[in-house]
């Protein structure tokens, strides 16, 4: 009797759960942005009126940019909305117990290090930096300018050769563990009734929503996905949000962007770009107050843990030097030739280091202007975009999730007004450029 019972129970649990035939909101991509969108919609809506489905093809997040990120969060940007978005994320993390805490359990711990970011400036750029710091302070960011002498006093490990000034984040900036945040979001989402589906989106079906005579307008009627066993499913939906990160361009193409004439002929300009992070050990390295320091060359480093480990990285200087995106293999020559000499010049203690490990991840790189693209597509009216954060996805994910939820739930109020970042600017060939790209 007992053996029969056990067998039938195990048979029940081995039955595959089918992907639902219809749902209200489909979110393509279950990383930080997708989970944040799902969370805010589920958290704010009344009585679970919308069924939310998150489709993620990499459920263990092995190649997800969310997990491979360096984890930094800063308020020092030159575009005002970028500052506000990061400040929103800091506020969210400060109140993470209220948002993502489960009852009677310890609050989720994202290991937030509060040491801030330090941007260094040459004499030519120092004045511009001071203006930007003023703008950031006006928006409420706690950032301060330091002269080179003050920097040397505060951070004796720094070589101020060629440095005129620097800006340091005093509160709310730092770095944290992105995977903890992702896990906490996913756990809370599942508790709020969001379905996470392990499948890959392979197509959409479109239908006309406005007559051909006055200009085509489409809606996405259903999502076609293929699960891990190779079976295909079609799910009817009301709205689709593109949170596919580096692969957003492909999802946009499946939805019809870049295929037909008119506004639909413009593809989503988001491509994957590979970036490396190198972890190394240094005796007598910079101490516990070390911020995430960004050199004038664009090379950055930060402390990792309490055992003398550090991580560093840099973006390539030109398009020709962009590494191949075929796989996530690491290029150690880039470290030896480009990163280490510059780090050792800026921090003399780093002349003696031991490289321990390295990994690579993809930026969701917006080739147009390296800034967020958010909002409904002008022609495919129920297709919402949340892409192209080009390396700032971690910091902006929470605010982007909130903004998308505001667009879905109540289209007339904004916490942070992101209407400037609509896809329309791509059609009108306008750029919003950010000076502080790392």
């Amino acid at each position: 009797m007992g053996k029969f019972f056990k067998e039938s129970i195990s048979k029940m649990f081995s039955l595959k759960e089918e992907i639902p035939r219809s749902t209200d909101l489909v979110i393509v991509g279950g990383g930080l942005v997708g989970s944040a969108v799902a969370f805010f919609v589920a958290h704010k809506q009344t009585n679970r009126e919308r069924e939310i489905m998150v489709i993620e093809r990499d459920p263990m997040y092995t190649t997800a940019s969310s997990s491979l990120s360096a984890g930094g969060i800063r308020h020092q940007f030159s575009v005002t909305e970028n500052v506000q978005m990061s400040m929103f994320t800091t506020k969210f993390l400060r109140n993470i117990k209220f948002f993502l805490g489960l009852i009677d359990q310890p609050p989720p711990d994202v290991q937030f290090n509060h040491q801030g970011y330090l941007f260094l400036a040459t004499p030519e750029k120092a004045e511009k930096l001071e203006e930007l710091v003023k703008m950031q302070k006006y928006l409420g960011a706690e950032v301060e300018m330091f002269s080179a002498e003050m920097l040397k006093q505060r951070f004796p490990w720094l070589n101020i050769d060629g440095i005129e000034a620097g800006s340091l984040g005093l509160n709310g900036e730092g770095w944290f563990d992105p995977h903890s945040l992702l896990a906490a979001l996913k756990q809370r989402n599942i508790g709020l009734g969001v379905r996470y589906i392990d499948a890959e989106v392979i197509g959409f079906t479109k239908k006309l929503s406005a007559p051909e005579t006055i200009g085509n307008q489409y809606v996405l009627a259903s999502v076609i996905s293929r699960d891990t066993d190779g079976d295909m499913f079609e799910t009817n939906c009301h709205q689709v949000v593109n949170c596919a990160g580096p692969w957003a361009g492909q999802i946009g193409e499946l939805a019809g962007m870049g295929t037909e004439t008119g506004a639909l002929s413009i593809p989503l300009p988001v491509v994957p770009r590979k970036r490396f992070i190198y972890a190394y050990h240094c005796h007598n390295g910079p101490g516990i107050s070390t911020p995430l320091t960004v050199d004038i060359t664009g090379t950055y480093f930060r402390r990792e843990g309490l055992g003398g480990m550090y991580i560093c990285g840099a973006s390539p200087e030109s398009e020709e030097e962009e590494p191949s995106i075929e796989n996530l293999d690491v290029d150690y020559e880039f470290f030896n030739e480009k990163i280490w000499p510059r780090l050792a010049h800026r921090i003399p203690a780093f002349e003696n280091i031991k490289l321990k490990s390295a990994w690579a991840g993809y930026y969701d790189y917006n080739v147009w202007d390296q800034n967020l693209i958010i909002g409904p597509h002008p022609v495919i009216t129920n297709f919402l975009l949340a892409n192209g954060m080009s390396g700032h996805g971690l910091q902006q994910s929470i605010c982007v999730g909130n903004a998308i939820s505001e667009m879905i739930l109540n289209a007339d109020t904004y916490t942070v007004d992101l209407s400037r970042f609509n896809f329309d600017r791509i059609i009108r060939r306008e750029k919003i450029l950010e000076d502080f790209i790392v």
Partner: protein
């Protein structure tokens, strides 16, 4: 009563809950419904005169609903949220008051109102709340500097710590404050120029990263960190803080007498998760 039929359907849930023990609502409002410790109070329409009767509209509003699960845990969460919002509102000082009485006195008000006690520079007696009376002047006194703030056991929060801005506090005691966490410790940078002594014993929400954030207090001379159950590596972090600030005196941890020289001579890779930043005992490493 016939008006109940047109109220919202039965599957909606109650929301407005007030703890009435300390307020005596029963005497003030006979229309309220008391269920054990909880009081359901009708919502007053402030624009209509209150003539003591219970009009149809007000009864409808009495069953003000919110979509919350009606079980013990979420009720607890709901009440906690009410307490949070209330605390944050009470610990605030608006800009007009600050301008009128000055930053130090406004800060003193916040501390004393939250149940703490303070000392001004030049005085040697504590000023604290007596019952509900706050023995502080309500006009500006020039050259009044807040020097010591003792918030032991209070419910001061991150937003409440805004009182620190513009003050020159030398000694801050945040002992057994249940809402003080890492973000609050990072916010202490505002008094880094003057703060010389800090006590954060017993603050259970503080972790290693919060202690690391104390590196911003560059003039700190004394730090007490007893009883921090969630800060597992506090001795190591204290050692790192001492590297950068040699005048600091850390109480509440077992530091080796000379932390630099007594560390074992294994290389950091072999000694496991955390290790001392230097293995040569000849000179103190510059940081």
């Amino acid at each position: 009563m016939s008006c109940f039929k047109s109220l919202r359907p039965a599957n909606r849930i109650w929301s407005r809950l007030f703890l009435c023990q300390t307020r005596g609502y029963v005497e003030r409002d006979p229309r309220a419904i008391k269920m054990g410790d909880l009081m359901f109070e009708p919502e007053y329409n402030r624009h209509m005169p209150d003539d003591g009767k219970t009009p149809f509209v007000n009864l409808n509003k009495m069953l003000n609903v919110v979509e919350a699960d009606f079980d013990k845990e979420s009720l607890k969460q709901f009440m906690q949220r009410k307490i949070d919002v209330n605390d944050i509102a009470e610990q605030r000082v608006d800009a007009k008051t600050k301008e009128k009485i000055g930053k130090d006195l406004a800060a003193a008000y916040v501390v004393v109102k939250s149940g703490g006690r303070i000392q001004f520079a030049g005085m040697d007696r504590w000023i604290e709340k007596k019952g509900s009376h706050i023995p502080l002047p309500n006009h500006n006194i020039p050259n009044l500097k807040l020097q010591v703030a003792d918030l032991t056991g209070s419910s001061i929060r991150y937003e409440g710590l805004a009182f620190l801005e513009g003050t020159s506090i030398k000694m801050l005691i945040l002992r057994d404050c249940q809402y003080i966490d890492d973000f609050c410790l990072s916010r202490l940078y505002k008094i880094s120029n003057t703060l010389e002594f800090l006590d954060i014993s017993g603050c259970t929400l503080v972790t290693d990263n919060g202690l690391a954030a104390l590196c911003k207090l560059r003039n700190l001379k004394g730090l007490r960190i007893n009883d921090l159950p969630n800060a597992g590596n506090k001795a190591l972090i204290a050692a790192y803080l001492l590297d950068e600030n040699p005048e600091l005196n850390v109480l509440g941890v077992d530091l080796p007498l000379d932390h630099d020289k007594e560390m074992p001579e294994t290389s950091p890779e072999e000694s496991g998760q955390y290790s001392d930043s230097s293995t040569n005992s000849s000179n103190k490493p510059p940081t």
